[in-house]
Symmetry: C2
Subunit: 280 residues, 2 copies
Amino acid sequence: MRLATVRVTDAPTSETVAAVHTGEGWRRLGSPDLSAFLAGGGVPEADGDVLASGRPVLPLPHPGKVVCCGLNYADHIAETGREQPAYPTLFAKYADTLVGPDDDIRVPCTAQVDWEAELAVVVGHHLRHADRETAGRAIAGYTVANDISLRDWQYRTGQWFQGKAWDRTTPVGPVVVTPDEVDPIAGLDISCRVNGELVQHASTRTLVFDAAALLAYVSTFTALRPGDLVLTGTPGGVGVAREPQVFLGDGDVVETEIAGIGTLRNTIRTDPAPSPSREG
Amino acid sequence: MRLATVRVTDAPTSETVAAVHTGEGWRRLGSPDLSAFLAGGGVPEADGDVLASGRPVLPLPHPGKVVCCGLNYADHIAETGREQPAYPTLFAKYADTLVGPDDDIRVPCTAQVDWEAELAVVVGHHLRHADRETAGRAIAGYTVANDISLRDWQYRTGQWFQGKAWDRTTPVGPVVVTPDEVDPIAGLDISCRVNGELVQHASTRTLVFDAAALLAYVSTFTALRPGDLVLTGTPGGVGVAREPQVFLGDGDVVETEIAGIGTLRNTIRTDPAPSPSREG
């Protein structure tokens, strides 16, 4: 199944609905979005009507937790000069950090803005102290994300958080595909293009820690709940690791694609930099 | 004012209420807890009745964001061998990470569990791109926290998050004191005792980044809302920096005190370690 939160474009209001894609189009699932749908147990309405038109937006607008893994593809680990990890490197984002699959991404004009194409895992069941098998069964589906990073802020201190948790900078979507339709361990092509030029291209089969392993690991220390997101890390090819370094600027278009799931298309828009007095 | 979320001990149910301390005792504010009270604008009920009895519990059970600052006291920075920072080192916890002022703290028996007495700032108004003055006016009050850390997990990778975000390990409370009654810049005595022995003792006047500076800085990248918490970092004296290192074990009692606010008293309880197969 291909699930989405869809904006009903011919509705008088800007209503969104959780929906499943069928041969006829998007069919209502009976919830306002996939966050509510999964929180309610993920049971579709028996006779949801088919929408005349609809556009996928941010599929999970209200995740309680967005846990991200860094350094999880062998080639990206190599380009950062590090060794293969024994444990996943984890950090947090917020629901506020997320934007939709074709939304603009607003950043300060001074920031060193970089791309990170990622497979995102959607949690379907409550998990705590889960083993790998239990965690695997709790996966509601997979979607596409780009862990857009402000490298100058990320590296201001040893903790990456302040370069990773800028409001409305991480696009997610366009759809959530259930595990019966895609298998990241067998390998899904993941790629990122900037203004049409391919900058990242890898397969999810080279992930060091796969989806089930990450969910089990995180559940050792904190509960995961339906609608939570786990981002699995990015492959090689990021701008900060290039020589010379490359960063995104105003008007640049970032396309993030995973075969079998879909494509994000986001334009970078720069704002005047925050004044020094506003940085503390 | 001294505000709290109070469990009504003589009620037939385990009801909690937001309350303010008066000469007669705890008076109801008209909300089930301080998270709801602050989200509702922080306007007290005009004629809330005085409770016959009540015990302060976790004052803010539902913060949307818990942002933590590390390395923010000159002596603690020195004991970790680092230089004075130009920027605050920030990381995240969850609402799930918090426990009440006298709750037990459950950790795996194998973990290297350490104390970190901290001043916590409670956000009272929405903040985004705030300057220092605006941020200062948005402070609803101050409370006590202990950023209990699992050092072995914290240092498994470069990112501290997985050692800092264990469910129900960060005690907060017992009360929130409004800024007209306490001034951390003038200096509040902050201390931590383990089984009665003083292990940390400092003044909040030696904070590198004060409360208003931290709120302004965080608001540069993400919105803060009423009821959010910002932990300001810990002074010197943590167990991991001692020679030999000292960690907390089953039955150890940690008391965390800030003069003019109150004292947390939490007992460490250890569980069997998670099995290796459950760690990924």
